[in-house]
Amino acid sequence: MANRQVAQKGEPTTERAGGFELGGRVWGSRLIVGTGGFRSLEGMERALVASGAEIVTVALRRVDPTAKGSALELIDRLGKFALPNTAGCYTARDAVRTARLAREAFETDWIKLEVIGDDRTLFPDAVELIDAAETLVDEGFVVLPYTNDDPILARRLEDAGCAAVMPLGSPIGSGMGIANPYNVQIIVERASVPVILDAGIGTASDAAMAMELGCEGVLLSSSVARAKDPELMAKAMREAVEAGYTARRAGRIPRKLHARASTPDEGLPDLR
């Protein structure tokens, strides 16, 4: 029953088939790709194209005059939407300041809000995250917070006015998949904003699972950028997100301990 409720929740209503609404805009792809960790801009370009993603994340750092090539130029050329993040911020103050810089740099009010607690786990700092989210919503930002897989925190972020909640599956870059699918399912059931699984995806089945659990989208980076063949993995992720979303709408059969024959016994010949 739970699965069915989740499936109905994610059902598109007015938007075109497969599309979803996020931050007041309708997007065709439910896959959001980070641009960090790619070994080359060329490799990143091929992967971004293969992913079909419309939204790609970028970060802000001090200008490095020796840096070659521009990630933003590439993203603009590919016609994708650059979503700035606040990666590397440990306090609400830093995150809010970074978001304001990003608004100036990218001429967008959208921000992927990250406020982390320590550099070993990269887990969000819940207290600072809420503080930053409230301030940024007040300032008119479309806030997309990277959060723990904590249903209460997710609700608090939604109450603060965030445009989505983005729980982690497992630590950033760990490739451990969705460690607590039950929490993600609870977050999805309660949320009235889109839930986007962010962080921890290792391979295609993780992305499909996120969608089957009822997420509206998946945000991933390392699993593609650090794959042996990023372009091929990007294709796999695109297909996995689509397959998981389709399967969710199709409605999976309930899990049972014992077998249930798919072939009828009736008419079975007696061959003794």
Binding site: G36, T57, V58, L60, R62, V63, L101, F106
Partner: protein, 68 residues
Amino acid sequence: MIVQLNGERAELPDDATVADAVRVVEVDGERRGVAVAVDGEVVRSVDWERTPLTESQAIEVVRAVQGG
């Protein structure tokens, strides 16, 4: 005057503006994706030329980089 420019000590003329600081870090004509904060507060690009700097301010000039 002496300022902190992207974390490093830099000497600028006494009448330097934010735009001068941006030029020091070699940001060419392309300003999309570039932003400046002085002592933590954003200075919009339309104001760079007319915003004077003062001694010992901290100027951060940032731009888009790859990131998750």
